[in-house]
Symmetry: D3
Subunit: 330 residues, 6 copies
């Protein structure tokens, strides 16, 4: 998906110049993993035009394997985003309707070929929201994953502008049985499956970690996930957030440090958490280390422009190890 | 329609920044007329979002009456354009499929209300190309125009990326009987109605004015136009073009001066010709003056950034009167 | 008035590129009102040149009626502003001397025609500061307003670079009897009329709301205003301010919530408060709702680039209703 | 004087970003001379503000001695310029009325001190056009020059937006007796002193060198100049000009090569010719070499952004010696 | 190598912003080939830092295989380039001394591994010029090529700022026996091997194709090349060049069409010719088609920003087939 | 040294545009002093190219005397810096190896001539770190200073990327006996001379002023400095720092106010402290005033773009006198 944002704090309704980058729930994870040196491939459907050429050059540049891209359809999904500040929230216009992927057909994807040699499959709740066919396409992929013993992770990633809670719950409930590692943010569990955290006030920026432990357990138990991670964003304002995460492995809840972030670009924050977590689990990190790594990855991403996590392993580990002082490196 | 172009000579496939402006076959004409001080209103269907707010602020700024805009649909049509140079042509990616206007329904437009008080109606061949419903919508409008004695102008504006010659011919043939003033470029007559100019080599940049006189007469006679104008672009390269026009009033062909243009932005050139011609005819200019005015308007537009004609009446008249020296004004 | 500011945090003395926008105490209010969907017209005197054309396109784009603009004079007033940060304050260079408006004559304005159909008239203390003729022009307008029963609002808007406290007091004292709704910031009452708040330390960023209640009452009683509003800016630094307001209706003081703002662009903050308040009062909001609406409008403006308030009614109401979390909208 | 121009080919009426540089008939000459390694000082009156600080840093950076700048007044003169292309001319908005220099008084300048140690004094016809006092200030300086035996050069530099031909003729006629070296362009002699070249068509881009030889002789004889130089611009379009010059030393007319220039920025072209000529004459170049040097300097300036001549001595001499091939240097 | 150039026509000595891209005699060829869909790998030595990360993302994005990059050394070579115009030539500052590659050692490159599976090896005369070790490194590679039957192409690419004609001749003479396909521009044969074309005036922009046929034959016979291609640039000015090429296959000289190019960015023109030629010969094109393809590729590159050839096969073939009209594609 | 940084918060590894400014431990001090109106000259060795021309224009613009610059060598040292935010630190790539100054020879500098008329000499620990010759060059200068009674100040300025603590200690120990005024930051004393502050946690952002008093005394006593100043940066994050300083005059420790800075650009902060302190001591300020002035200077610098301190005396004194409210000046 293309991303167009005005410079600095200009709003979409007033801007005359936009910066083009690329983004998307799954590609953000793929780039994060590839950026850490992991192997990552990306599958979607894209139209044949020069915007796609631009996208491919960018993604290939990050080392993502694009061998199995499917070409066709009319348009590249786009989204416009403006950066919020203080009490003015960031704002997104989705222009992804009728995108190539949203009009894809089951026969477009040969999952046996695509998944050949893969050990991990990641998808988000955004994809099945885009059409009636996409839940089926996802299920095709997930069945093949199960057949091959591929670990499946899913970020619930609920977007109210894309589908209703009811439709999301209905669709995602069918896909959850295939999922080994589930990711969610502080809103998803409630919005998708109706599992609500007590004592939390999202608009007031206050989250109760204890409540989310209970949410985590309920959700994991409901679907039998191997692991479940929840990110906890305390939205103090559009300029400052708190950020933390918890990871439940079926027996214990591991809590990360909490960071207070002065935001550069919060969009893609959750996906970079996913990227960090997938990389960590693929690398066999212990749960506590995994959740700290994922939270640190996404903390740094939110101090970075655009959707992609581009901090190096060293940079993330430095933060994991406690140096968040921001002292200049020279 | 939104227009996004990279800075300078950067190509779409390599750019990371795009300039946003607004454009479209009809709005370009409306802005040109309003810019000269004429009254112009614009009707289309636009989705409700901040891109539309941006568009409205821009168009209203040029003095175009937007009272009858219809809101709804999913997306604002967009197009991406890169500036050519020398042997490298300018290139356009249309991302207008599924735009609000392309999915509009006949009942969206209350032509009695919209056309109330109007004396002139302009449309282009791009609009009916966008859907199967749009030819019907156009016909609704045209019928109401005829009923009210409103003058109708139409720019054939054939785009091979939007429809085939066959489909264009079939649709446009039905609409032509309502048209009083027809505009075409050096390709349209052949592409839409199969009326070809002899002795011209478009790719070689050579046009025979005599042949186009014959084309003009054939075309005007076929549909009984009151007036027919053809623009004649000699494409020497993507940097340098010749530019002229002819106007046939049923009895005589009036030929304009020919300009050699060092191009700044040729996109919108034909529309600004249309805007100049409509303004001239609305203002009662004699045919020779009208064609000179329209060609000068569009000559200056092609030395100006973006789609809109923003040269003042004085500036155009100065060129009409022979000063193309480009001497600095101070 | 044109506004030129360097990109980002660059200073005027070092910049080579400036962003052009438009601004001014009264136009900022007009744009704010028009942006909320209110009807707003703007009257001033502007020279005939392409900067004015640019200004007109911009203002008309925001829906401000410019029918009664007076053309003439030598120059468009300009101001240069650099964005402060931390302990470095924002800084303004006024280049408005000899502007068309500052050299306007009483006979330039036909107030009977201009005010025909109007129900509200707003002016600021900046206008009468610009020449010796302008207080007379203002008085002409105000007399006509009284004759027609038009509500008059005035933002004291004292600027030490434009006139002395003595001159300001003398001039404004004569105009106040015509004013129904008076607006002031935490400095104006003292600077213009010598009414000082106790227990407040402007440079230290500490304001006593109680003291300002007393100021409000004193000031309103002195001139018999129908309503008086005071904005209260706590300047913690050039990056962070507190922001609140009080509204006195002759019987009671209504206090707004206080926001802590991480500033994007504080210039125009007071004017957007004025715009919000005028819109609210024109719309018949209750006093508490009116002051909350005005403060929220201006809070969001200060998280937005340039002088104009461009947040929508929905966005302001969302903040009024308590959501200042800045959570991304998608 | 500050100069603000939009990026690329954007027009003033549509631009939102402007590039700031500095310019002016005399400072352009001073920078050209200093840039070649000559000693150059600049005298004017500037207001005390950060725009002036910016200007001073820029000018001092080019090595111009600013010791005798006079501070005071209200504003720095500004001009806005947009770049023309093809048939669309470059366009200038002067915003220099009421500038500090235009409101300067004779007593502001202590010419004995300013001219101490100087050997050459250069002024242009723009300066005396700015007020009624400035011709007197110029005359004060010129008298002191004569007293000290300082060579005086003057570029007639007629600007119709600043004064009428009548007033220009009247004022300049009084100053000419002090002038040793006179510079003019293809229009000045006629516009200021009514000496017209036959057989030339400025708007058509055709100049008769022979006619200008006669003009040169007439003009030089009239005032007894030691030397007189005329630049000859053939304005083919706003994109392409021819450029040449002639130098008359009282006995013979020396003609330069003629260049065909694809323009980058023609503004300042004449001043850079002046700078090149003053440097050449100060350096004792023979007339033929002097006129070639001056024309080559100004040819390169017109292929360079902004008003200043910044090509090095080597670069100019390379062109003088015949290499105008534009082959890349590496 | 990194490339930094100011925006538009700004000069290095005056610019404050630079665009970063990547370039180099060999990588330009690799990108051109990969861009056409060919397989291309690039070998050099680069330091470990974020500039290199940027470079790698860019090059990998173009599909160039970077598996065999060697890491180490202190710095990435950089060059600064400003765009010429009219009589002002483009200008380059090399800041490549002490670059990682220039300080590379023979043992850094394991040619057996690097060349495994390769069928074509391309290098330029720039590489051996950078140090005393690099000719030996080149020879190591070339010997391994010969042993494996890999076709070797070499672009003489003489740069006077990097080495003297004497040293170049001496070094290149040793490497030529390994070369199958030699490329040169209109200066190289003379500058490196003393083989001069008669009747040509490089600074005057006039080249004699006949003379270059003789040069081609002399040069090919001297070293027994399988094929020899010469590009012929007629430098009319820094804005306009003619461009053509000849290819000699030992028996016949094949001449391409000549293009008149209005330059966007001429740097990298010769390398894109090399890229086009290598791709054409690897693809088994007949000589006439090969030279036309290479010349068209490099013609389009010079109408494109930065060093890389990014026109598609279709775009190049369209030009080869005669459409240089630059008509907009829509 | 040239400085290249991406716009805003973009990282070096992702940016395509860089802003060029100039910087360096000693030039930053020279500019700060000259900016306050002091006389300052700068000595280094620079290569002859257009980057140097750009640098000279910039530095001369700030009023720094460059008469004694030495020309020669291959390259201008460059550094790339990206702005950190929140937990992501600013990051620097030095590309200064083999710079002209780092390869300078003792005979390049004629200290008798250079120091003629000077009263103060400032150098930093960066210079002797750049080569084995530079400590000797420094010593040459320092000896001449002593002979002439010139006050010597030195900022230890330890950079781990330039040399090891061991080497730094060894070299600096030899130079300290010549130093009258020593400057250090919270790390230098330990890194260079092994004198460590107790109870401070740099990464946690907590500094103990008391411990640094002891460090100051130990360090001053060890080398017999006349004065010793230490800056104390509390790195809360890359966005927010605390900033203070202490000055020890051999008898008493003077502590400045502590500022909490919301950072714009922290690079150059220490140098601007040096500039402020040198100016203050040269101006005969009392110790308390001197340390307050130096800390306020550097506080404002860190709210300003690029390395140079460009706040005026008035602006710094306003902050010294307690107004850090950032209230807009108008």
């Amino acid at each position: 998906m293309g991303r167009l944002n005005p410079h600095g704090y200009l709003r979409i309704a007033q801007a005359r110049e936009f910066e083009l980058s690329f983004a998307g729930g799954e590609i953000n994870v793929a780039v994060a993993v590839a950026n850490f040196g992991g192997e990552a491939a990306f599958v979607t459907k894209l139209p044949k035009n020069d915007l796609t050429v631009n996208a491919i050059r960018t993604l290939r540049g990050y080392g993502v394997d694009l061998t199995n891209l499917v070409y066709g359809g009319d348009r590249l999904g786009m989204y416009y985003v403006e950066r919020g500040a203080s009490q003015r929230p960031s704002k997104v216009i989705y222009d992804r309707k009728y995108s190539a992927i949203s009009m894809a057909k089951r026969e477009d994807f040969d999952w046996k070929k695509i998944l050949d040699g893969a050990s991990w499959f990641h998808f988000t709740g955004i994809t099945p929201s885009l059409s009636d066919e996409l839940p089926l396409i996802c299920e095709d992929a997930l069945k093949e994953c199960k057949a091959r013993g591929i670990t499946v992770s899913c970020d619930l990633n609920y977007r109210k502008n894309l589908w209703s809670s009811e439709r999301a719950g209905e669709v995602m409930e069918k896909l959850m049985p295939y999922v080994d590692v589930c990711l969610a943010n502080e809103e998803d569990a409630e919005k998708v499956f109706g599992i609500k955290a007590d004592n939390s006030d999202l608009l007031g920026g206050k989250l109760s970690k204890e409540s989310y432990e209970i949410v985590a357990k309920k959700l994991a138990d409901k679907f039998g996930f191997d692991k479940l991670a929840i990110t906890l964003r305390g939205s103090l304002s559009a300029s400052d957030n708190t950020w933390a995460g918890i990871l439940y492995d079926g027996t214990k809840v591991y809590k990360s440090k909490e960071y207070k972030i002065h935001l550069v670009d919060r969009v893609g924050g959750g996906d970079s958490f996913g990227g960090g977590l997938v990389y960590a689990l693929m690398s066999g990190y212990e749960p506590q280390k995994a959740i700290e790594f994922a939270v640190a990855t996404s903390c740094l991403k939110q101090a970075t422009e655009y959707d992609f996590s581009i901090s190096s392993l060293d940079e993330v580990n430095k933060l994991v190890n406690g140096d968040g002082s921001g002292r200049v490196q020279r």
